[in-house]
């Protein structure tokens, strides 16, 4: 299946590298428009309170203040990404009647400069009636607990169940059954660019919004609905975005406020969040409590799994419903569970809403899976890698109600990781204070679910070709740093036989790029937009081939190809015609009509979750200081299967970046909370790994070919956020005897739990 590629598979430098290297890349906060106002948001100081009254008069009369709004001024329309289930849409752009977490948005001010807007916030008087708050899952689901949302008396907003086989029977027939409770904590996506939005309203009342988002189309739709406008009257443009990792995939308050105030005042408005706001009130990865029970036969064959998960959702659903759903899906991945039962519940608490973050439920769910595999291996007396290979999913496996795995290099990844790391020797002849451990992952290549209820295809691409031998690719795919602009250009260049510099790209502008695209999340873009680009390119090629075929009077049985800037009959490569000339011929044949084609991709009949899964294994080696309990990771070895690698350097970059994030998740990053208040709201106290903390790593790409993916490609980079924490936890156990079931792995826990 593997083809000989010219551009795909190479380490092609980023499309936007020069712009970013020279500081000319324009991010949202870099935009300045004539007469622009600066906005600030007033946030709730209480975790749970009723709003009795808001007096904005003093703020409004401060010189320089042009507009003050509260929830009462807005159309009071709730929003949320699950449009198909309006019950789940539980958030207003500005609080109505009640606040549900410290940092909940209460009012917004726009003034001639940011200092004045900030000063005005102090002058807004809000009378609150404090209500009892709930700050953990157990208190939230207790009988008689305070209720956050009237529609949801038990504080459980989403229930998701999966059941196949007969789990009770499976456990009864097992030789070994293991039951554990795991607690995983919330962490911040901590993208370097704080969220920002700039809105402008034209004289016809139409809005243009530049915003730091992963989902321009979703923002367009939800902004329109919350403003009471038509979708086509809202244009969303994604400038350069400084990372997202899931934290920028919903409509957010400042986007609404910028648009609403721009419309009200007739002046452009900019809102930019501070880092403190990002940490205090920003989206975060769900903390979860996971009850997991697995059964095995004596020989290590898995008999089944029963997984019960509570997600600590914070004050609103945000992307919690999707995370709840996906936790259950991921719980059934990696290994063959003939019997499986899952029950996930999304719980409201008076904390900042948790949402999507790299891995989207998988880092949590698979931390439990992987830790339990390691525990079981030890108790069954089987090597953890052998136990995994014995139960590993393989190509062609069906997961009931979920999908058929169409490509899978999991076993090869396990073998390769073991070989690279010297697993056998290090695991069975360890040095004192050192340990080696393993964690694995599987991830989706975009979701097939449509809870957003889009009426458009899942992805679209428009390709225009010109007689000067160039092409223009238009796509709504959002490059937020991961590099999809470059990858999509590579796919198009490969298919049309052009060079990277022959292709111009316009992306992520809802008024000019083709409808639609659900955004950059769930590792969608290579698979979904790559396929849309290929579809458009194939239609272009059909036109070119027709024109060349007619010109050369070719027998209809001849196949044609595009390569090195030429269009040629494959049987007579010497009779090629330059690409631009072929375009001119096709255009002439169509009496001058420009050669433009659109391509689409919507996964159909691909089960309930995703068209393709990635797989991989990671091994980490650690050294634990016996006196201080401090963990130093010495090295990582990763073997992963992302199908065809489209861009070698980009995939490596994803992998290396995921190690930084996984390392922080395992060892150092956490929110320090007190009664719903986040205490560590800066990078000094929120310990994100720096260049000194990240250890060396080695990587092997396991070559598979994903039949559903563009040129055989599938997900790369998001799934890799998963294995690091369980691999480190296993290595720490190997070094110290302490088995962490309660992330993060801190020196205090190690010292308390180690076995000498």
């Amino acid at each position: 299946m593997k083809k000989d590629f010219s551009i795909v598979g190479k380490s092609v430098p980023r499309n936007d590298g020069k712009a970013k290297a020279t500081g000319t890349a324009t991010y949202t906060d870099d935009i300045k428009l004539p007469g622009m106002l600066h906005g600030k948001i007033l946030r709730s100081p209480f975790p749970h309170a009723r709003i009795l009254n808001i007096d904005t008069s003093r703020a409004a009369s401060l010189p320089g203040v042009k507009c003050v709004i509260t929830g009462e001024d807005t159309p009071k329309i709730k929003y949320g990404n699950w449009r198909l289930f309006p019950d789940t849409q539980d958030e207003y752009p500005l609080a109505i009647d009640k606040v549900r977490f410290i940092g909940d948005e209460v009012a917004a001010v726009a003034a001639v400069d940011a200092d004045t807007a900030e000063e005005a916030l102090e002058l807004i008087k809000v009378d609150y009636e404090e209500l009892p708050g709930i700050f953990d899952i157990d208190s939230a689901i207790k009988e008689g607990a305070p209720v956050l949302h009237d529609y949801c008396p038990g504080n459980i907003s989403v229930n998701r169940k999966i059941h196949y086989g007969d789990i009770e029977k499976a456990f009864a027939e097992s030789d070994y059954v293991r039951e554990d409770v795991f607690n995983v904590h919330a962490v911040s996506p901590a993208y370097l660019e704080p969220c920002a939005a700039v809105a402008q309203c034209d004289l016809d009342g139409r809005i243009t919004l530049w915003t730091s988002t992963q989902v321009p189309y979703i923002v367009q739709c939800l902004l329109a609905s919350t403003m009471g406008m038509r979708e086509n009257d809202v244009r969303v443009i994604k400038p350069f975005v400084g990372g997202g990792f899931g934290g920028k995939m919903e409509l957010r308050t400042w986007e609404f406020c910028a648009a609403f105030i721009a419309k009200k005042t007739g002046r452009p408005v900019k809102f930019t969040m501070t880092r403190e706001e990002e940490f205090l009130a920003g989206r975060r990865r769900h903390a979860m409590k996971l009850y997991s029970k697995v059964g095995f036969k004596k020989d290590g064959t898995l008999t089944g799994k029963d997984l019960r998960i509570y997600l600590d959702g914070g004050g609103y659903n945000a992307m919690g419903p999707t995370a709840t759903f996906l936790c259950g899906t991921f719980g059934a991945m990696l290994y063959r569970y003939p019997n499986y039962r899952f029950w996930g519940q999304h719980v409201y608490t008076n904390k900042p809403p948790a949402s999507a973050m790299r891995g989207f439920g998988a880092p949590q769910s698979l931390f439990a899976t992987e830790s339990q595999m390691n525990i079981a291996a030890e108790e069954l007396g089987i090597d953890p890698i052998e136990l995994r290979i014995k139960n590993a999913q393989v190509t062609g496996d069906e997961i009931p109600d979920v999908a058929t795995i169409s490509s899978c290099g999991f076993i090869e990844a396990l073998q390769k990781a073991a070989e690279m790391s010297g697993w056998k020797e290090k695991r069975y002849s360890p040095k004192p204070g050192q340990g080696i451990g393993i964690g694995c992952y599987s991830f989706i290549s975009g979701g097939v679910f449509n809870w957003f209820n889009t009426q458009f295809p899942f992805s679209a691409a428009e390709v225009r070709v010109f007689d000067d031998g160039t092409a223009h690719l238009l796509t709504m795919a959002a490059d937020i740093g991961q590099g999809c602009d470059t990858v999509l250009k590579q796919i198009l260049a490969e298919e049309l036989g052009l060079k990277m510099e022959d292709i111009r790209i316009t992306s992520a502008d809802t008024s000019t790029t083709p409808q639609a695209d659900l955004g950059a999340w769930g590792s969608r873009l290579t698979m979904m937009n790559g396929n849309a680009v290929l579809d458009a390119a194939k239609k272009i090629k059909a036109q070119l081939f027709g024109a060349v075929s007619a010109r050369q009077n070719l027998n209809v049985i001849h196949e044609l190809g595009c390569k090195d800037g030429m269009v040629f009959p494959k049987s007579r490569p010497d009779r090629g015609i330059p690409f631009g000339e072929a375009v001119a011929m096709a255009q002439k044949a169509n009496r001058g009509e420009p050669l433009v084609e659109r391509g689409y991709y919507t996964p159909r009949d691909k089960g309930l979750v995703t068209p393709a899964f990635s797989f991989g294994a990671q091994i980490s080696e650690v050294e634990v200081d016996k006196d201080t309990g401090v963990v130093r990771v010495k090295k990582f070895w990763t073997a992963h299967d992302c199908g065809t690698v489209i861009n070698q350097m980009a995939v490596e970059g994803q992998l290396e970046g995921s190690i930084q994030m996984g390392l922080g998740y395992a060892l150092s990053e956490q929110f320090v909370m007190e009664d719903g208040k986040t205490l560590n709201t800066n990078f000094l106290d929120y310990k994100m790994p720096n260049a000194m903390d990240v250890p060396p790593s080695e990587v092997a790409h396991i070559e598979t070919y994903e039949p559903e993916g563009p040129m055989g490609a599938k997900e790369a980079g998001e799934g890799l956020a998963i294995p690091t924490a369980p691999a480190i936890a296993d290595a720490v156990h190997h070094a110290t005897g302490y088995r962490c079931k309660d992330l993060p792995i801190t020196p205090e826990k190690i010292l308390a739990g180690k076995k000498d």
Partner: protein, 164 residues
Amino acid sequence: MKQIIELNVNGESYTVAVNPWQTLNEVLREEINLTGVKLGCGSGDCGACTVMVDGRAVSSCLSLAVEMVGKEIMTVEGMAPSGEELHPIQESFVKKGAIQCGFCTPGMELTALNLLNNNPSPTYNEIREALAGNLCRCTGYKKIIEAVGAAGQKMKEASERKTS
């Protein structure tokens, strides 16, 4: 009360009216429109706002603009000798895949320049140490460290060519 001050940035002189509490970051971005200078945290923790002042890398979010009078300030926009060419550090960042979202890039590059000016042949560990005050959430630092090493090599070769 605003003060009129003169700032020397990237070899050009700018006369600006600033409040005494305004940071160099704010003045560079808002008054002089050098938006290549980023603001990631505002508290000197992330390094995204790094600029060179009299040849030393500093956090522009922690520096007051009024204290910068008479000093030579360089931002990412002033790194390359001309608009067309890239500075070897910038070129190396592009080629080695050291850039993803790009938000930390200007600060990283200037911190790298600071390092290479003082230590033309840093070891891998010396580069890691020098970059430890600049946070990146995308790359895991590996390609950045490699890019700085490669740029150092290139700059050294170029300066040796010049002197020989």
